[in-house]
Structure formats: structure tokens, C-alpha cells
């Protein structure tokens, strides 16, 4: 049953450009996929490690800016991809060392501050980042001679990366390392007493999370062929977190559903009203207050409760 569902999902995903109609929707599908990768990356920390980061747009943005910078310096796509991912990993390591000085709220506040530093650099260090005007790049890579210029081909390339990310996450969750990450979330002291190096486990989880955020940032760069400080703003970090929380933390499908929800609502909302930020904030508040466990599990719980409330009345009437 599971395998059938999985195969069906794969077929549907792989054929999106064939049946979805206009290129507009293909592009939205691509956006959903790379934001889903980002959300999966954030979920490693926010969901499995219990460390909520509000600075991940900084890592996402560092990858995008590094890629754009390497490309405008005249290097090839291989150098762009390798260079930007190595740089993102290095930045993740620095972020992790600083942010892991605290857990819980301290962690949140430090990541906010770190994210704002990256934003400040992107916005103010004009000689390197071109400030508010951002950096535009020309051309997407052409792996094995296949051009990614068209929306459909870019979608398929993104899908491949997405499936790799999802497979890695699945392995991660089932692995002993994944279990130890969850252990440091639930019982850090016991894990410590059992001889696990709690700090190191969190550090590695941070690197893993940062790596996929960087991959998503690089896809974002290739998709837009442009990067500006907007990509690293606190709003962007908050959006990523919203995807994770909206869908359901510490689940594999939750962040993907959340990414789809946010991207679709954002595109639909901005087509009809200007007030996307208001909608984003309102969704945040409503989800946190009424469905703290996420839309998918939350809706299921409310549904079950509604059913349970109906049942006794039905028997009493009968």
C-alpha cells in the first residue's frame, strides 16, 4: 500500500510540467520544491533537535550570495556550486559554535542576531553585495549538456535534488544519528549520562541543516537568477519556520506540506491583496494558538475530537 502511494506520488511529481498547463504553475511547483528543501533543512533543527533557529535565511542567503559572487567573478557552475556549499558549511559551523552557547530561548535570540548580521552585511556592505540592488547572474547550469533554461527542465532538476534531499532525510531520521539527535532534544541530560556528546550531536545536526539550507539557497539563486537582501531578512527566516510549524514539526511530510501551503498562499494572496505580511502574521498567530502541533496533525486531532463529540449523542439518540 505504502509503495503504491509512493510510486503514485513519484509519478505525479515527475509529470507535473506535462499536465499542469501553464509555465506559471510549473514555476510555482519549482518554488515549492526548493522551499521544501529549505524547510526540511530547518526541520532538522527545529523539529528533531528541538533547537528553533530564526537565522536560517542567513545560511540560505550566504549560499545564494556566494554563488552569485563566484559566478560574477567569472567562474564556472561547478566552482559556483562547490564554493557556495563549502562556504555555507563553514558559515553553519560558525553559527553553530555561537548559537549552541545556549539552548531554548537563548538559541533563538542568538540566531536572530546572527541572521541580522548577515542581513546587515548584505544590505550595507555595498562594495561586495551591491546593497539593496542585489546581484543578478546570467544563466543556469547545464549538467551533462542539458539546458535548464526552460521552466520544465528547471523543475525536473529541482525535483531530482528534492528527492535526494528527501531520501537523505529519510535515512537521517531512521539512522542511529537521527535517534541520538531526537534524544538530545527530549533528554539531553540522560543522553549525556549515557555517554553521548550532546554538543557534538547538535553541532553535526546544525551542519546537516545548514547544508540543505544552502542547497535550497543555491536553487533559489538559479531559479531567480538574482539575489537581494530580501532573501536574508528576518521575514524569510520566519517564513521558513512557518513552513515547518504549519506542516508539523519533526515529521517528514509536514515541512513539504507547509512549504506548499506558504508558497501557494503567498502567490495567491499577493495576486489579490498587497497585505501578504499581514496574512503571514495572522497564519502564524492562528496556527500557534489553535493548532500548535501543525496543520496536518492538528486538523486530524480536531477532526477526531469532532467525531468523538458526535458519537455519544448518536448512541443516546438511538
Amino acid at each position: 500500500m505504502r509503495r503504491v502511494a509512493l510510486a503514485a506520488a513519484l509519478v505525479i511529481l515527475a509529470t507535473v510540467p506535462l499536465w499542469v498547463g501553464s509555465t506559471y504553475y510549473v514555476n510555482i511547483a519549482s518554488q515549492i520544491l526548493f522551499y521544501a528543501i529549505f524547510a526540511l533543512g530547518v526541520n532538522v533543527l527545529a523539529g528533531y533537535a528541538g533547537l528553533v533557529s530564526l537565522g536560517h535565511a542567513g545560511l540560505f542567503g550566504i549560499a545564494a550570495y556566494a554563488g552569485a559572487k563566484i559566478m560574477t567573478d567569472g567562474h564556472g557552475n561547478l566552482a559556483v556550486i562547490a564554493g557556495s556549499l563549502v562556504l555555507t558549511l563553514a558559515a553553519s559551523a560558525v553559527f553553530a559554535v555561537l548559537a549552541l552557547r545556549g539552548t531554548g530561548l537563548a538559541f533563538v535570540m542568538i540566531t536572530v542576531a546572527l541572521g541580522q548580521i548577515v542581513w546587515g552585511v548584505a544590505y550595507r556592505w555595498i562594495s561586495i553585495t551591491n546593497g539593496d540592488n542585489g546581484i543578478a547572474i546570467r544563466g543556469r547550469p547545464a549538467p551533462l549538456g542539458l539546458s535548464l533554461a526552460s521552466p520544465s527542465s528547471f523543475y525536473w532538476a529541482t525535483l531530482v535534488v528534492f528527492l535526494v534531499a528527501l531520501a537523505t532525510m529519510t535515512v537521517f531520521v531512521a539512522s542511529p544519528f537521527g535517534a541520538s539527535v531526537r534524544g538530545t532534544r527530549d533528554q539531553p541530560r540522560r543522553m549525556n549520562a549515557l555517554g553521548y556528546h550532546v554538543w557534538m550531536i547538535r553541532f553535526l545536526a546544525f551542519l546537516f541543516s545548514g547544508f540543505w539550507s544552502g542547497v535550497a539557497g543555491l536553487l533559489y539563486l538559479y531559479y531567480n537568477q538574482f539575489v537581494s537582501p530580501q532573501a536574508v531578512a528576518l521575514t524569510a527566516s520566519a517564513e521558513a519556520l512557518l513552513m515547518v510549524i504549519a506542516g508539523g514539526t519533526a515529521t517528514l511530510l509536514g515541512p513539504i506540506a507547509g512549504a506548499a501551503l506558504v508558497v501557494v498562499v503567498k502567490n495567491v494572496a499577493s495576486a489579490y491583496i498587497e497585505r501578504w505580511n499581514f496574512v503571514l502574521g495572522a497564519i502564524f498567530v492562528v496556527i500557534v494558538v489553535f493548532m500548535p502541533e501543525g496543520l496536518v496533525p492538528g486538523a486530524a486531532r480536531r477532526w477526531r475530537r469532532a467525531m468523538a463529540a458526535l458519537r455519544p449523542r448518536a448512541t443516546a439518540a438511538g
Partner: protein, 286 residues
């Protein structure tokens, strides 16, 4: 006038404003463990409300106090209706206050448009005061003075009154404070409103210097965060010292390394985190 003196005066002024902003943030965080990410929005909202009040014929100081009160009332509603439901769920509080800050920013953009609005300096404080042969902008001196008065008043409130003793008890050990009959939950509302009032008031008196514009909230919030991380949460002295450190770094950083001003601002915070994670004046917690 000497550039350095100008920078120093500007730094002290910004430090004073930051103290008003971060003292409330620090108290709320220290007592209620709520990282109130709407604090920057309170600052901006106070300033915007005051521009409307002034446009309706109120004078500057009335507008500052009433603007602050409106923000305090709003803060009280937020605390009672939303944050109250999320006690102990720190992550949820972070997210809710962040969501609220987006909503407030968007509503402000809708009501007051995207153009910067400058609040006129009160007429009595325009011009220059000469001290020791150097001319200082009178209004900036006034802000520094207000900050000092508030610092003393807050210290007296916390250290010398019954209410202050109750707040300190609540910070130290909320459960035990409840046992001895302090209504900690009512205290939460009082402190939250006080913090919101301070932020709104700071926004208004900062108006003649900073102006009010969309994005002011996102600019002030990180500064308040840095102050609190530097000084240690729940410590008035920490807020005071942290505010002036940040005020000086921000102004001197912008004058000397304009492109890296933001980085310069955050560096001492990183150093403090590495060396003394609880902040300069914070107490070690488990």
C-alpha cells in the same frame, strides 16, 4: 564642533532611547520569560500614534504620554488574550509575537503609508545649549536627561517599593512568590504594560531624531536584543550599560566603517556570548 563630540552626544542619545526600549524588554523577559519580539513594533506604533495625536492638536509631551498609554493598553490586550494562553510554551510565544509584529508592521504601512514621518521637536527644546564652551543640541541633552530620570525611577520602583519587591520575587522564583500570596499573574500584566509603555514612549521621543518609517521596528528590535544579550536579561544595570555600549558602537561604527556598522554592532555581543553567555550583569541560571 568637533566630530568626536558630535558622535559622542549622538551615541549617548541613542543609548538613552535604547535604555527605555530595552529596560521593558529585559523586565518582560526576566519576569515572564517571554521574548517579546513585538517590542520593536511597540516602539514604532507609539511613534506613529503620536504623529496622529499631534496632527489632531495635542502637544508633544501629551502625545508622548498618551501614545505610550495606547501602546500599553494594546500590550495588555495582547498579554491577556494571547500570551496568557501560551504560558510556558516559549517557542509558541516567540512565534506569536513575531507573527503579531508582522501584522502590526503591515497595519502601520496601511494606515500611515510608506513615507517617513518626522515628529517636530518640541519648540522649547529647539536650538543649542552651550555647556563648557561647546554647543549641544538641546533636544538630545533632554533625551539623555529623560533616560537618566527613568533609570533612577525604575531602579527606585524595583528596589524601593512593594511592587518592585513583588516583581523581583516573581523573577527569582515565581512558584514561591505565588505561595506567599503574590498574584504573579496580575504582575505579569502590569510588567508587560509597563514595558510596552516604555517602548511606545521611547518611540515618540525618538521621533524628532529618528523619524518614523516602515522598518523602524525591525531596526530597533535587534538593537534591543543585543542590549539584553550584552547586559543580561532581567538586569536594569545590564540594560543601562548595554544600551550605552550599543549606542556608542552604532554611531562610531557608522561614522568610521559605514559598510560594516552592523557587524561592528554585533561583535561585542558575540564576544560576550562566548566568554559569558549569561550576559555581563546576568545571573548564572541552570
Amino acid at each position: 564642533m568637533n566630530l568626536w563630540v558630535v558622535l559622542a552626544v549622538n551615541s549617548i542619545t541613542l543609548g538613552g532611547l535604547l535604555f527605555l526600549l530595552s529596560a521593558g524588554f529585559s523586565l518582560i523577559f526576566g519576569l515572564m520569560k517571554i521574548p517579546n519580539l513585538t517590542h520593536g513594533s511597540f516602539f514604532m506604533l507609539g511613534a506613529y500614534l503620536a504623529t496622529t495625536l499631534i496632527a489632531h492638536g495635542f502637544d508633544f509631551w501629551t502625545a508622548a504620554i498618551v501614545g505610550g498609554l495606547l501602546v500599553a493598553a494594546f500590550g495588555g490586550i495582547v498579554e491577556r488574550l494571547i500570551l496568557r494562553r501560551l504560558i510556558g510554551a516559549e517557542l509558541a510565544q516567540v512565534l506569536v509575537t513575531l507573527g503579531l509584529s508582522f501584522m502590526i508592521a503591515d497595519v502601520c504601512l496601511m494606515v500611515w503609508t510608506g513615507d517617513p514621518i518626522r515628529i517636530a521637536t518640541p519648540s522649547a527644546l529647539r536650538g543649542v545649549t552651550t555647556v563648557a564652551g561647546l554647543g549641544f543640541p538641546t533636544y538630545r541633552l533632554a533625551i539623555s536627561l529623560i533616560a537618566v530620570v527613568f533609570a533612577v525611577a525604575l531602579w527606585a520602583l524595583l528596589d524601593r517599593t512593594r511592587l518592585g519587591a513583588m516583581i523581583r520575587a516573581g523573577v527569582d522564583d515565581p512558584a514561591m512568590a505565588r505561595v506567599v500570596g503574590i498574584r504573579v499573574s496580575r504582575l505579569f500584566t502590569v510588567v508587560f504594560c509597563l514595558g510596552a509603555w516604555l517602548a511606545g514612549f521611547a518611540g515618540v521621543i525618538g521621533g524628532p531624531i529618528l523619524s518614523v518609517y516602515p522598518g523602524l521596528d525591525q531596526e530597533m528590535l535587534p538593537l534591543a536584543l543585543v542590549v539584553v544579550i550584552l547586559g543580561g536579561s532581567g538586569s536594569l544595570l545590564g540594560s543601562l550599560v548595554g544600551s550605552f555600549v550599543v549606542g556608542f558602537l552604532y554611531n562610531f561604527g557608522q561614522a568610521m566603517l559605514p559598510e560594516l556598522a552592523y557587524v561592528v554592532l554585533f561583535l561585542p555581543m558575540l564576544v560576550v556570548l562566548v566568554v559569558r553567555p549569561q550576559g555581563l550583569f546576568g545571573r548564572q541560571t541552570a
